[in-house]
Symmetry: none
Subunit: 144 residues, 4 copies
Amino acid sequence: MHVTSESAKKAIDGALKKAESTGTRMCIAVVDSGGALKAFYRMDDAWVGSIDIAIKKARTAVYFGMPSGEIGQLSQPGQPLYGIEHSNDGMITFPGGVPIVDDEGFMSGAIGVSGSSVENDDLVARAGVETIGVCDLPEHPWRT
Amino acid sequence: MHVTSESAKKAIDGALKKAESTGTRMCIAVVDSGGALKAFYRMDDAWVGSIDIAIKKARTAVYFGMPSGEIGQLSQPGQPLYGIEHSNDGMITFPGGVPIVDDEGFMSGAIGVSGSSVENDDLVARAGVETIGVCDLPEHPWRT
Amino acid sequence: MHVTSESAKKAIDGALKKAESTGTRMCIAVVDSGGALKAFYRMDDAWVGSIDIAIKKARTAVYFGMPSGEIGQLSQPGQPLYGIEHSNDGMITFPGGVPIVDDEGFMSGAIGVSGSSVENDDLVARAGVETIGVCDLPEHPWRT
Amino acid sequence: MHVTSESAKKAIDGALKKAESTGTRMCIAVVDSGGALKAFYRMDDAWVGSIDIAIKKARTAVYFGMPSGEIGQLSQPGQPLYGIEHSNDGMITFPGGVPIVDDEGFMSGAIGVSGSSVENDDLVARAGVETIGVCDLPEHPWRT
């Protein structure tokens, strides 16, 4: 089950609200459970370089069913997944991408945010998800 | 001058309204005057393959300051721009991408639509532009 | 709903059987409803160049919910979709890619075959689908 | 000499058996001695992001005739192959890719596995190889 257009819109609106309240200028991307772009919004004066990062964060989160930042802890030099960023046409493994999970534990997609500090990016992404679901998957394997 | 977030939203809403009235399921992309993605919306059950086509149509229109379909007439076998689709990481040169031009003749971006016949795609794209400007540029060189 | 591992295996076995009976050496790819690779099999002595073609045919069929060859009729010079092959990291629009549709009209994925004439490719692809479903989608929009 | 279809199938079945016994959900790829995809299988609910990683691990192993994880030790910051992941359209240099070597010391291909911890990935990959050969190459230059 993929995130619907209506839910994607709600998630982006929720993220936007948080971005505005924190005075940040964000790119916000929502992808479906296969990683395909569902909706995207770039605030005025957001970094142009954040477009691709927001989309890649969302894809990273949905491709592995976890927040992008968790993968980043495992991909540091000397850690088990060092270099995973080279897969899948480029992964972004710092915070700001989180899965969208519904009440029944299905991952319907993910949201990715870029444009400020990674703490803010993550905060805004989670604010988006909270309007339509939760970020935490049940133990792998989840249902898709 | 780039299309603003607010204008991009208006353009997408205008396009959506037309898509709904024609019973089509579209991917709708708005890019700024540099071709960078500003906003995107995929209706439920739209073709997954249309995501990239909508974005590429918008980029094609803004990269050359004309509707994507006009370039397609020049890129047919034997015509002067034959093969132009190979440039810029892939152009889409059939109808559905149109520039967004303001009252003073500035091109602020473009909209690209994919998901139905090229006639419908073009119709929906133009409906989007009409909410915020016009599609026709003054004689080249225009002002960006 | 995506094609399951078990169904993908059945589809490949069905396609293989047909390939063997026609004396052809094929690459056979099954993708899920988002276009992600589910299973792949290359027969001994099949063309190496057919690996990518088989995968791209399957993706093309699932991205637009129709046999790849139908798109190819619309993408000829002078036709409405001329140049669509430049989208989505490369589409293959000649026959050999067909959707996999279940009893309820859901498209669960697609199969793509390459290695012989396009007629044979298409025949083998359809033999694969027939072991687990049908190739024909109900009128667009289908359910995914 | 390339891995045959029959051997590739055996290797995947061997890997699958190990994956099932360890309760993991894997993507399993077999490539020939030139790095071209021979067979692929994605278990239900395996990470979508693991498709590309499994294939890249197999390619990495065969391109350099050693387990992917060995290259990863040489590609850490300060080590001689730092950044090798940027070559060959993306290498994956953590464990889970191993060469397939026959009785006479010929490398016929490689297997790559992704979907769990790198220890599990490596275990499953080796279980696949063991059904048809060994993972260890004689001293370079080996025979291909």
